[in-house]
Symmetry: C2
Amino acid sequence: MQNGNHASLVKTLAKSIKDRENGNHSAETKEKPESHPINGGDDSKSYAQNSSYQKGVIEAAKREIVQAIKEKLDIEKVWPRRFVIADFGCSTGPNTFLAMQNIVEAVELKNKSLQQSPTIDFHVFFNDLVDNDFNTLFKSLPSHPRYFVAAVPGSFYERLFPKASLDLANSSYALHWLSKVPKEVGDQNSVAWNKSKTYCSGSKKEVTEAYFAQFRKDLNRFLDARAEELVGGGLLVIQLPGVPRGALPFNTGAGFIQELLGPCLFEMADLGFISHEKVHSFNSPMYFPSIEELDLAIKGNGHFTAERIKILNHPMQHLPFDAKMTCLQTRSIFEGFIKDHFEIDIVDQLFDLFAKKLEESCSIFYQEIRKDVDLFVLLKRVC
Amino acid sequence: MQNGNHASLVKTLAKSIKDRENGNHSAETKEKPESHPINGGDDSKSYAQNSSYQKGVIEAAKREIVQAIKEKLDIEKVWPRRFVIADFGCSTGPNTFLAMQNIVEAVELKNKSLQQSPTIDFHVFFNDLVDNDFNTLFKSLPSHPRYFVAAVPGSFYERLFPKASLDLANSSYALHWLSKVPKEVGDQNSVAWNKSKTYCSGSKKEVTEAYFAQFRKDLNRFLDARAEELVGGGLLVIQLPGVPRGALPFNTGAGFIQELLGPCLFEMADLGFISHEKVHSFNSPMYFPSIEELDLAIKGNGHFTAERIKILNHPMQHLPFDAKMTCLQTRSIFEGFIKDHFEIDIVDQLFDLFAKKLEESCSIFYQEIRKDVDLFVLLKRVC
């Protein structure tokens, strides 16, 4: 999972405030991407142990992938060489292994369905930021994968592979992490200042526009890089959380979690654990797009044809809401992020508070989670 | 760095002893390779901070590599695609980056010397065992390498890449680590029992023969795997410690270090820190071959032509002996290995003792290190 640069935001905001104090309102900060990986390792608070929702997305996408590869992959072009797959934003597993296995099986299925199909060597590359816990990823590899394994450290908003070296690229639940929070949402002098919220809730038009502009810019960079790396006709498969047409992030499960996290942070400030200023400068670097917004961004890029953009039917949509699991999942994603921003370890207290609020909100959450939307996107590199 | 499986040896020996006790002398143990990586991280006891000798080997090999690539690489075959390099047994850096940079520069030099040479994308793969500290490797990557980076976890005695996917393979100071210690050197009933030593000192013919047989078997597996992975005409560059013609490992610096380590272990047993039995079952999984032995093993494999096998002129050969540095280097390599074998942490006491013995032996060591031999091997994949 790639989460961009919350600390960068903090620094940007800090400098912005300092610049204003010094009368230098127009000063631009250097926006070098930073990273705050989700929880590594394999313990009870790790992402590896708390990513069953994301697993569900991969399960839901399997049928789509099988169909996509059957209908859209020009496999004859691959013969007689190897088939190269990369997962962008792989995190520490085990979901990435499931996603890769699904793709390998789908390609093998298509290959075997054709006459005189040769055996294909699969080469699978796992990508995430340099700070990702690759040691854990490697130690949890399947014992006998049907592919050769490699890992690639670095931001997927940049080039990571030689030209035309990939046959298929995948990204599951990663592209909603922005490379950075848009500067103006933390700027008290901007019309897009996100005053009372700590994420893009959708309640203020200018904030949403600033977030979407950043999302579109980032997606464009991602697509530009993958367009160079994929062979002509190569497939790009994306799954990410989105919003239904006309809905606000607040109405989705993923948004609601962040809606709850904000008041917890303000309460922590009221209790004196952290400063109110620090809470005001906290903004989540996530954006949940609609199908229409995605379509607009992809068409604007021009390197890919959108073969399919649809809403997945998540297997957990109809399960009762599990507050404990949701709390652990949220913590595994936000812990490093929060520690970096507040520069003191407040996560135990914060998530005790969050757990209580989550329990109290069970009934609301259970209704709202039905509006969760996981998007499936299939793109084909223009030859 | 790949060190095979000392714990596996221990288990083999333990089971062998138990089998003998049970009257089951012919029982074979399952010889699954295990790994005991050199010290990870980047602190004062890490391999990363204590591998200046190995760095010297890479520096000494640079001139050879430039010449080898100039004369032996069929670079026109690469056009217009990418050039793929893998370093087998990369450890945690920084030496591997230097080795890769030297190769990339040499290939670029050759490419530019030819008319109408296109720009080549370099793809560099860093390989080591799954237990290697890849997180440290990634965090210490050069900031703007002239190549795309990937890592491959796994034993280089097995296949790690798709068929014909590499243009050049390198292995610096890794192939002297055996996949396992030959069983018979720990077997009291064998003529090859290595009774009073803890490494292959060369003082007993049967022990040396058993070690060489294992080295040859391992090298053969390495060459078989690389032969599949390299393109026809692809180059394989190897550097490893060896022995001069007619000399014994005891006469080399690397051998002498192990010669000193043995008595330290026996002294630790006399002091009651560890059992004598455990020391008797301790054998180093390293072998330092001669040029003649290497030549024999390579010819026996048959997949490669030996373009060059020669002794390198190490830049540190004529420096005064540095006992402190040698102690830290030895510890960074053997620490994990020793902890695994003795199952208790005795390394601080052991290396205090070792440091004293090393200081006392300075004059001998300084004479003997002149006989250190670093071998450079250039092989070409038969088309």
